[in-house]
Symmetry: C2
Subunit: 415 residues, 2 copies
């Protein structure tokens, strides 16, 4: 069953065919406040909340809130059952009478936050990204810190400022210290950047004091989304010693609205790159959780980067095992992101600081303008596709954000 | 009205007299699953959920869930009104018939998490602590990083592992690299430490993109609690470059169950220490939010430290202004902590790494044993008091935690 029923009119090569079936929270335009859970099929959305009432009443309570919160918490048995049922409804003609009135054009609905983000963690799992950043900031030192090949470096971000794709991003104001200066200055961030990342959505919780081993990854992680970890590089650089990034990143993180279940990525699973350093027991994987996902980053509609997720050094199963390794519990709704996805070539870099090499080699746009950093009004679109069954490709949707100008800084707020 | 009504039998010098009135979530022993909001008065607890039903029905919905979540979100008007009403009920004899049956011994109730922690941020606001840590780790360098006197350094921690006082803390296992070694080792943390901190509980939310200025601190922050930011120093040291602490701290953070409203700290407000560096506009305070709170840390019942919060360099109003300065929104239930509270003298240090100077000068206990780091079975109790009106002192309760042994590491989990 890799083809949607003919009456649905989904092209065989559609990125949102029967092999994808991502979930979102949406409201129909005429009921702006009433959210329900939807499944994407082609250019349409199936009202899963109502469909379950009719066809799978035993699971209907999982979708009655209109968000994915209850479904995420229900665990992998419920995830598999619902996906199998939805696949059946959308592939067999006999379900047409039961669901036809529940399908509407995706363009006509309003998407909402799919779930409440519990904790948000950001990893740093691309060797190419980390080495490039190391070369830029420490040209005479080792590109990687000594720990980097021994554990997946990560840090906690701000869950409360994870926003939905389409939310406009206000350029932040803050402190930074210009190169060579003794004192910091205050004002609008001059080095605003994006970071293209893959996000992993935790469904099933775990208990305090009990690490989640690599082999239980798919029992706890429900699916993936796209993440843009907006970063004010000038603010970040000044604040980060010794406790890491804080307000240079916490002002906003964009996530895509459609959550693609792990089950849709079976054909994208590959072996991660070979690891040089011997890995400690809790990070040793028997199953492959490298992912062959092709990213694309557009700036004002123009493709500026095509980062390959396949090159990521640390797998998400290792990230999860490390994050819980000292006993930290998982909650349903936790989100962890991969860190910037960058491949070996310059045009495979997932952020501007690499693409424009810290401003030394600005990116040229078709309109003749160049970018070392984001300008006010710039729109960044992160999208991605992955291999599915029978040669089809699966779409992961898009994380989109547009930069608003900073609020002007009154004179008394400066130094 | 600084004296509770005589029928309540509260000693005039009780730390939980009428000037304190902290809030908690509790269940009566005979209704173990039914939580309600309580107010401490002397050695007793008033059932505020039921008292509001009877005496303040317009606000009763704020307490019907049995936690502080709704009350926190209701804002400073509700906070002031409820505190004034409770003060009246507990000071005038005429309310005895209405509330006498709602008061029971504090020793007989079970306390719960007072609210759902939204985001958790940990600051680093004690100059003495930061300078000591700098001297220990970089004996030949400057004790403070260049940014430290220009902004309140902080980082996000894990909200999902903030646990209630009394929760046992499992010694974590993880990676660390012994001094001089090339490769890391895996095993139970050998350098387990506590950090005595003050926590600030956010009530009223703010909007994305809108900084909260220092002068609006008391509109957004409801009150304070005590925090123990457990830290595995050996794990933390190996993981922290370049993105800061992660799993060396995320395994557990203990908070005290009683939330003392800011209004109870009016008499504790003082001017913070004089600041050497010129402070940028958004950090300049007109009102004083230094706090004259005396901490006490006991290890297995023995006092090992008495850190003075009055010596903290950055005020909580500055922490809030900085945390939101780039536009990060606040949610009701956000918790931010001060970082380790340490004064200038050795015995005023709020963590073992300072008290035992990184293991070089172990702390001697009355039983003749010494501590460089925490042992299995050790119990750490953090308590604090502040000046109230008319010479009384106010208690902040206690954050207590006992160390459980690590889960043994199987051989295959080692390198």
């Amino acid at each position: 069953m890799t083809q949607a029923a003919a009456w649905l009119g989904v092209a065989p090569d559609h990125l949102l065919g029967l092999a994808a079936l991502p979930y979102a929270s949406y409201s129909a335009a005429h009921h702006a406040e009433e959210f329900r859970v939807g499944v994407a099929i082609g250019d349409s959305v199936l009202d899963l909340t109502t469909a379950c009432d009719r066809l799978l009443p035993g699971r209907a309570h999982l979708f009655s809130s209109g968000t994915l919160d209850q479904f995420l918490a229900a665990g992998d048995g419920a995830w598999a059952q619902v996906r199998a049922e939805v696949t059946r409804w959308l592939s067999a003609d006999e379900y047409r009478p039961a669901i036809e009135d529940l399908i509407q054009p995706a363009a006509a609905v309003q998407l909402g936050m799919p779930f409440v983000v519990a904790d948000y963690v950001d990893f740093y799992a691309s060797e190419h990204h980390v080495a490039n950043v190391g070369r830029i900031f420490r040209p005479d030192g080792e590109p990687l810190t000594p720990n980097w090949k021994h554990l997946p470096i990560g840090y906690h971000g701000r869950a409360g400022t994870v926003v939905l794709s389409g939310t406009e991003i206000r350029r932040p104001c803050g402190q930074s210290r210009p190169p060579g200066a003794d004192l910091p200055v205050f004002g609008a961030a001059r080095q605003l950047d994006f970071e293209a990342e893959l996000g992993f959505v935790v469904g099933a919780h775990s208990h305090l004091g009990e690490p989640v081993p690599v082999e239980r990854f798919a029992e706890h992680v429900f699916g993936v989304c796209l993440v843009n970890d907006w970063s004010a590089r000038d603010i970040q650089r000044w604040e980060s010693a010794p406790l890491g990034p804080f307000v240079g990143k916490s002002f906003a993180t964009t996530m895509s609205p459609w959550i693609l279940p792990l089950a849709a990525l079976e054909h994208a699973r590959i072996r991660p790159p070979s690891r040089e350093a011997k890995q400690v027991g809790y990070l040793v994987e028997m199953a492959d959780w490298g992912l062959d996902i092709d990213f694309e980053v557009r700036l004002n509609g123009h493709v500026i980067a095509q980062p390959p997720y396949a090159t990521m050094y640390w797998s998400p199963a290792q990230m999860l095992a490390h994050m819980t390794g000292t006993g930290a519990a998982l909650r349903s709704g936790d989100l962890f992101a991969s860190g910037t996805v960058s491949g070996p070539a310059r045009e495979q870099s997932g952020c501007l600081i690499e693409l424009a090499w810290n401003g030394k080699e600005p990116v040229l746009l078709p309109d003749g303008s160049t970018r070392s950093w984001l300008h006010d009004g710039d729109e960044v679109t992160i999208s991605a596709t992955a291999p599915g069954p029978d040669g089809v490709r699966i779409g992961l949707g898009a994380a989109i954000g547009c930069i608003l100008p900073a609020v002007p800084t009154p004179p008394e707020a400066r130094y």
